[in-house]
């Protein structure tokens, strides 16, 4: 028995001693072999959709494209969440091995520009952007240049439980559209002694930014960071304090609930679909799941426009989502093929289909028209609210969306600020402190360019 165990062990030991250089050699030769056999143009496309529905849709479009273009091979792959996908792209690009096409989250737009890893799509070949929805294309236009092809776009809406509304003696045809109206509905709900919370709302900076946009206040100075690099925020503004106050009012009166974790929209969706809350405010991207949830627990779902702060006219929502960027470090042929595929994937027919499959906005006017002609909006009225909200937005600085390389950090700071208000701190002191912290984060980021 001893001999038997000793022999393989020794063999393994010696194997591992010699295997390292061998592995090194084999891999090196493999790499060499690959570089010589590049006949067709390969377009690596990294995206952030892991689920079968959406990654399957992307793969199907790639297959169609590859069939129509035998000399091009588009290879889509899921690369984790947007943060990991972006980071992997940068790391790959530094090693001279970037993917050709990458889905980049809107919040990373400034970082993508500052990285120097990407090229504006207009510099590859002229692209006609007139068909894209204005609020969408303006988000990705910086300094007059469109940098990327819009892909998945969403905005926030109010979701409400029609049955509970009726039960509380409220009109489900007339959902609240302002902060005051929400508080009013909540008062009626608690008067009706129905044992549910009024609003499931998580501390979520994306909503904070939307509410500033709706009040025509830019989150950042220097034209929301679009005219030149932003140096300060407008968190501690009358508009910003109204948002803090809204969270505080809801909380103080016992109307608000969430899971306690920052930006936990999955948690608030769960609370809402379990009929533990009358309303929730969340992205249109979640409509599919919320609808399923409502069916499952047996209530009728209602969708309303994003309720806004009182005393201002509706200035419109800013777009959330991601766009498709082409990297710089690839050959001209590859970048042209990448752009061509991006335009194919987001063409009129495909975007209309994308909307039906996922609930994301079709980013083209022609797709909207196509859907309208197909009678889609009549058959799915819940989508219309979100649509009109977007289509009625006339572009300006505030609703163009903010640009800063410190967005991820300032978002956390804003969310922590909202949580501080929920834990009982005063709006005035929290708004000031949050602004200071966020400004410091932006200053710190800008030091990278001195």
């Amino acid at each position: 028995m001893n001999k038997l165990t000793t022999l393989p062990l020794l063999a393994l030991a010696s194997l591992s001693l010699v295997s390292l250089p061998l592995v090194l050699l084999s891999v090196a030769s493999q790499a060499a072999a690959q570089s010589t056999t590049a006949q067709t143009t390969t377009v690596d496309f990294w995206h952030t959709f892991g689920d079968a529905k959406r990654s399957g849709w992307i793969q199907a479009r790639a297959d169609e494209y590859n069939k129509a273009h035998p000399n091009v091979k588009v290879v889509p792959s899921f690369k984790g969440d947007s943060n990991t996908t972006f980071q992997s792209t940068i790391l790959g690009a530094r090693q001279g091995q970037p993917p050709a096409l990458v889905q980049v989250d809107g919040t990373s737009t400034q970082l993508a520009l500052d990285s120097g890893v990407f090229q504006p799509v207009g510099s590859i070949k002229p692209v006609d952007f007139s068909d894209y929805l204005k609020p969408v294309i303006q988000y990705y236009t910086v300094g007059g240049k469109v940098n990327s092809i819009p892909f998945n776009a969403s905005s926030p809406v109010l979701y409400f439980n029609k049955d509970l509304m009726t039960k509380a003696g409220l009109n489900p045809q007339n959902p609240p559209s302002t902060f005051a109206a929400i508080l009013n509905v909540c008062a009626k709900l608690s008067a009706a002694k129905i044992d549910v919370k009024c609003v499931a709302l998580t501390p979520f900076s994306w909503l904070f930014e939307q509410w500033l946009s709706e009040q025509n206040v830019a989150l950042l100075n220097n034209g929301n960071g679009r005219a030149s690099r932003a140096t300060a925020t407008n968190i501690d503004s009358a508009a910003g304090r109204k948002v803090f106050q809204f969270y505080k009012d809801l909380n103080d009166k016992g109307y608000l609930t969430n899971t306690g974790k920052l930006a936990d929209t999955v948690g608030t969706n769960a609370i809402f679909t379990a009929q533990k809350a009358l309303m929730t405010i969340n992205s249109t991207a979640g409509l599919g799941n919320i609808l399923d949830g409502a069916k499952q627990s047996g209530f009728t779902l209602g969708v309303g426009v994003l309720p806004i702060a009182d005393g201002s006219t509706r200035n419109g929502v800013q777009i959330g989502g991601a766009s498709l960027w082409v990297t710089k470090g690839v050959s001209k042929g590859v970048s042209e093929a990448a752009l061509d595929f991006a335009l194919f994937m987001t063409n009129t027919k495909n975007m209309a289909d994308w909307h039906k499959v996922t609930g994301y906005y079709p980013v083209r006017q022609s797709s909207v028209n196509l859907l309208r002609n197909q009678g889609w909006f009549a058959s799915s009225p819940l989508q219309v609210v979100a649509f009109n909200q977007l289509l009625s937005t006339s572009p300006n600085v505030a609703n163009a969306g903010s640009l800063s390389g410190a967005t991820i950090e300032t978002r956390t700071i804003i969310e922590q600020g909202l949580q501080k208000v929920l834990s009982g701190q005063s709006v005035v002191s929290v708004a000031a402190a949050t602004q200071d912290q966020a400004n410091a984060a932006i200053t710190d980021y800008n030091k990278n360019f001195k």
């Binding site: 591992s16 969430n258 899971t259 974790k261 930006a263 834990s423």
Partner: protein
């Protein structure tokens, strides 16, 4: 040859029951050869040099630079990153929280694991199933484990609050009450690490020759006395090993769980109460891409770890009973 195994073990038991007597110094180094030990170490050292030390050096170099991962810039700033960290009240609070967290997780984790492993080692009916149930949390990836806990402790729709509400009329706010959130993360980390500790304790307990415990029973010791005075001292090398690895894993591996369960929150004082050193580093380095600041934090963490390793050297070989 195997007979000789039993003999020294008996002496171990006798010595172990008199803990005041220090263990005899070990004289294991018996084989000669200059090149052979280096040859034996070579594969390990080569791999560690290429894949741990070289990247670590490169990371540490960045601690004196202002650098952003995405921009790829490097501006020399000297000790500024360190000065900023050490004078930051946020960082001080995070360090203190980490200390409390690590102490709690390691102490609770080892105690629970020891007790459960002891029970699991008994020849009871269904022992195999029981052991499986204890090991599985370790086999779950942190992301899945975190998600499970998040669902379980959702204050409105989680099963935990459903049960508590039904029995006691309680609906604790697990994730935004600072004390509860801290406790929850400690509990989750202990639970996640149980499997690891139990596997090793189980192996160590099975290494204890049966005649030793039998002898203790014949001498009239209660099971508890037998365990505490005979078995536990024999497990001390394992306890020491686990103490060390648990400190390390509480320091470094908990951030995945924290990220999913609490995102470092809720805010208490100047920082999120479940923001620990490694989570802060992860946030700064890989969410906010402040490579230089993150490298400085890594350097400080390494200093801390050097201290722990030195302690392992100083006390490790002395305080632990290694048998005859």
């Amino acid at each position: 040859m195997y007979l000789s195994l039993v003999q020294p073990s008996r002496t171990t038991a006798r010595r172990a029951s008199q803990p005041e007597k220090p263990a005899a110094p070990q004289t294991h180094a018996v084989f000669r050869g200059r090149a052979l030990p280096w040859l034996l170490l070579f594969p390990s050292l080569l791999v560690l040099a290429i894949f741990s030390y070289y990247p670590a050096m490169r990371t540490l170099r960045l601690s004196v630079f202002r650098s952003n991962l995405i921009i790829g810039n490097e501006q020399f700033v000297g000790p500024a990153n360190f000065a900023e960290l050490l004078s930051s009240p946020v960082y001080q609070q995070v360090a203190l929280q980490t200390l409390v967290f690590v102490t709690l997780v390691v102490t609770l984790g080892l105690l629970c694991a020891l007790g459960l492993a002891w029970l699991a080692s008994k020849p009871i009916a269904g022992a195999k199933f029981y052991r499986l149930m204890l090991i599985y949390p370790y086999a779950l990836s942190p992301a899945i484990a975190g998600t499970l806990w998040l669902f379980l402790f959702n204050p409105e729709v989680g099963p935990v609050n459903a049960v508590l509400g039904h029995l006691f009329g309680l609906q604790p706010r697990w994730l935004d009450n600072p004390l509860l959130a801290f406790g929850l993360v400690v509990l989750a980390a202990v639970w996640k690490g149980l499997g690891y500790n139990i596997v090793f304790y189980l192996a160590a307990i099975q290494n204890v020759p049966a005649e030793i415990t039998e002898a203790a029973e014949i001498d009239g010791a209660t099971p508890w006395q037998g365990f505490w005075w005979v078995v536990f001292p024999l497990l001390s090398p394992m306890t020491f090993f686990l103490l060390f690895t648990n400190i390390v894993s509480a320091l470094f591996d908990s951030f995945g769980l924290v990220d999913i369960l609490t995102r470092g929150g809720p805010v208490y004082g100047r920082a999120g109460i479940t923001t620990f050193l490694m989570y802060q580093l992860y946030q700064d380095g890989f969410r906010n891409f402040k490579t230089g600041a993150a490298a400085a934090q890594a350097a400080l963490l390494l200093l801390l770890v050097v201290a722990i390793v030195l302690m392992q050297f100083r006390y490790g070989n002395r305080k632990v009973h290694y048998g005859a």
